[in-house]
């Protein structure tokens, strides 16, 4: 089933639109998190916003699909020639042989929240509210498939914060079983009231930029992001910059709806399964991009899983201090950040973390660091006890 080539990828987040802006921010150790006043009640938090979305308009042909989530999808698809490469792949394989698998948790719920404030005297939603193009979870995959002119199978995976990590093994299964030849995979999630007020209700939101693995960490910072990759069978003609998906592992905690297994057993199972699917052992991993949300319970569970399997030497960091936690998009965001680490030879730092929690034993990098990076493990875990670990590597290996 593996390896598969990531023949093109792109990322738009609070760090900027496209890979060049992202690279500059990561190597320069810049965070995109900003203070945000959510409402008039004094609710403030730090978020990773994509400011361009607020005034952006979709082209007329897509006007019915307007939502913050679809705007972000459109903006991200048009960076780094991604849409052009998808069109070339469609010409090569046939549009019906390319799947579209996107992870999201929010879809267009932000517009539904807005529509509820505009209910008429009878309680009805306004006529401009569009369920299918906006609210429903599938809307973003439906939209991406239409914009790219693809005709193959499509789905949204919505497993909370592992959503857009799980699109990678799902696409790999579809390619290996001959249903498709290539896939556009990715994740798109946007800031909305449900997640801001929801995480606040769980007392999991940090007031200042989140500090994953810090002794004084107080919670997570939300972000929004759109990330896409074109996944194809490896052709053999790899260039030094090519990055391949080497393996993936999925598991369930079977423990609690919103708290990870305290020993990180589910996470450990996912990482073991990713290594097995890639035919690799723990010592083959050069860097771990942690899920690292910065909450009191998530970080220790992940630390136990990672150090228990990989030891305490391998460099690790969470990039959520730079991007915020993009929830359903986080898996794809961090896979692409991991791919950039392989291409640039610079490990991104956990730049908002000041003092590592002495109870957490992994080799946590607080600043960007040069190093030889051939294989990266990227972790994503979510509510409902869903876990996904991805392994990528330099394709020429």
């Amino acid at each position: 089933m593996y390896p598969l080539t990531l023949s093109r990828f792109t990322l738009t987040s609070c760090l900027g639109s496209g890979l060049e802006a992202t690279r500059q921010a990561l190597t320069g150790g810049r965070s995109g998190l900003t203070q945000w006043r959510v409402d008039d009640s004094g609710f403030q938090t730090c978020v990773g916003r994509v400011p361009a979305l607020s005034d952006m308009r979709l082209p007329l042909a897509w006007a019915d699909w307007d939502s913050r989530n679809n705007r972000l999808a459109y903006l991200a698809l048009h960076q780094d020639d991604f849409a052009v490469c998808a069109a070339r792949a469609a010409a090569r394989y046939g549009a019906h042989r390319i799947g579209v698998l996107i992870g999201t948790t929010t879809s267009g719920i932000r517009e539904t929240e807005d529509a509820f404030t505009r209910r008429d005297a009878d309680g009805a939603l306004p006529t401009d509210f569009r369920y299918r193009q906006g609210h429903t979870g599938f809307a973003v995959a439906d939209f991406v498939r239409s914009v790219l002119g693809l005709k193959g199978p499509a789905t949204v995976i919505s497993t909370a914060c592992s959503s857009s990590a799980k699109v990678f093994p799902a696409a790999a299964r579809m390619i290996a079983s001959g249903i498709i030849d290539a896939a556009v995979v990715g994740g798109v999630d946007t800031l909305c009231g449900t997640t801001l007020f929801g995480f606040r209700s769980l007392e999991l939101l940090a007031l200042t930029p989140c500090q994953p693995f810090d002794a004084d960490r107080t919670g997570l910072s939300l972000g929004e992001a759109g990330a896409f990759a074109l996944l194809e069978r490896a052709t053999g003609a790899a260039s030094p910059d090519d990055v391949a998906l080497l393996g993936a592992g999925e598991s369930s905690d079977a423990y609690h709806m919103s708290t990870p297994h305290p020993e990180g057993l589910g996470a450990r199972l996912a990482i073991e399964s990713a290594l097995a699917s890639a035919g690799l052992s723990a010592r083959d991993v050069d860097y771990v991009n942690l899920h690292g949300t910065g909450t009191r319970t998530n970080d220790p569970a992940e630390d136990k899983a990672v150090t228990g399997l990989l030891g305490t030497g391998v460099p690790c960091s969470s990039t959520k201090g730079a991007t915020g936690h993009a929830l359903g998009a986080a898996g794809a965001v961090e896979l692409i950040i991991s791919a950039l680490a392989i291409q640039t030879g610079i490990l991104p730092g956990g730049i908002t973390t000041r003092r590592q929690d002495p109870a957490l034993r992994c080799n946590f990098l607080r600043a960007p660091q040069s190093g030889r990076v051939r294989r990266v493990l990227s972790n994503s875990f979510g509510f409902g006890g869903t876990n996904c670990a991805l392994l990528i590597g330099a394709a020429e290996l």
Binding site: M1, D39, D40, S41, H96, T105, I109, T112, F116, T117, R119, A124, L125, Y131, R132, H135, T136, G137, F138, R145, K151, G152, P153, A154, T155, V156, I157, S158, T159, A160, K166, A170, R173, M174, A176, S177, G178, I179, T194, F197, G198, F199, S201, L202, E250, S251, S252, D253, A254, Y255, H256, M257, S258, L265, G266, S273, F383, G384, G385, T386
Partner: protein
């Protein structure tokens, strides 16, 4: 275009849980014309397999998924503690979504405070989370949402998993009506969960051999108008065309709604 997989997968158990169709034996009798479709909606049975704390928090759609899933797995004699799962739903927990949007829209400061349970129930994979807690299964599980094609998307994912090393898998598709005002924008007619227990190899008991692919041919309709109305009333009910053939012990190829321009083709060889 009719791109059927050469490889077969085996349907070993079916589960049905809902307001109009409830349990596979009862649904089977209705599909075979041996019993009438109930005129009144029945209430959804609560799942006794959940621990007490989770049972209190589990919503209607979670109970739909649990009811259908446990019935199918038991019929197939599969061990739920190690069984991989695929869940699919177009709308997840619509009542919970309504409550959150109503609270967030309130003009009274303080009403926007959501309860932690309300928030964690808002994730589309809530049913998968409750299922894992009920069964103790740490196996891979995914949750798909594909509008009216959610049943087909789940069956296609199961086919892909079964041809890449997974031996057995449980597919559970569920949806329930929204309250107003969302109901008018997205009318889901009845509450239904449909589950299929599928295996890569024929087991000791089997209902049918399936070959699954995609096609651009039109979707099959139900012969009876009342059942056709049910089929069109919710995403899980789009699978009734498949259940109908199995209920009647018939073989042949059927087409299920999937995307606007793509259907799922399923070649059925009933046991």
């Amino acid at each position: 275009m009719n791109d059927l997989d050469r490889r077969s997968i085996w349907l070993r158990g079916i589960g049905v849980c809902g307001s109009h169709l409830n349990t596979w034996p009862a649904a089977r009798a209705i599909l075979r014309g041996e019993a009438a479709l109930p005129a009144q909606a029945a209430s959804i049975p609560l799942c006794s397999r959940l621990p007490a704390a989770e049972r209190r928090r589990a919503s209607k759609v979670v109970n739909l998924a649990m009811g259908a899933g446990f019935e199918a797995a038991a019929a197939a004699q599969l061990d739920v503690t190690i069984l991989p799962t695929v869940f699919a739903t177009s709308s997840a927990d619509g009542e919970n979504c309504h409550a959150i949007c109503t609270a967030l829209a309130s003009e009274h400061p303080g009403d926007q405070l959501l309860s932690p349970t309300r928030f964690h129930n808002s994730v589309t994979n809530a049913a998968a989370g409750y299922w894992a807690i009920a069964t103790g299964a740490m196996a891979p599980s995914t949750t798909l949402t594909t509008y009216d094609g959610s049943f087909s998307a789940a069956l296609l994912e199961a086919r892909a998993a079964l041809s890449t090393g997974t031996r057995d898998i449980l597919v559970t598709v569920f949806d329930a009506p929204y309250p107003e005002p969302l109901h008018r924008k997205r009318p889901i007619g009845s509450s239904l969960g449909v589950a299929l227990a599928l295996s890569a190899d024929p087991g000791p008991s089997r209902l049918a051999r399936l070959r699954v692919g995609v096609t651009d041919e039109a979707a099959d309709r139900m012969a009876l108008a009342s059942l056709e109305a049910i089929r069109c009333s919710s995403p899980p009910a789009r699978g009734l065309a498949l259940l109908d053939r199995v209920a009647r012990g018939q073989s042949g190829t059927i087409r299920l709604d999937y995307l606007d321009d793509l259907r799922l083709a399923v070649d059925i060889e009933s046991a």
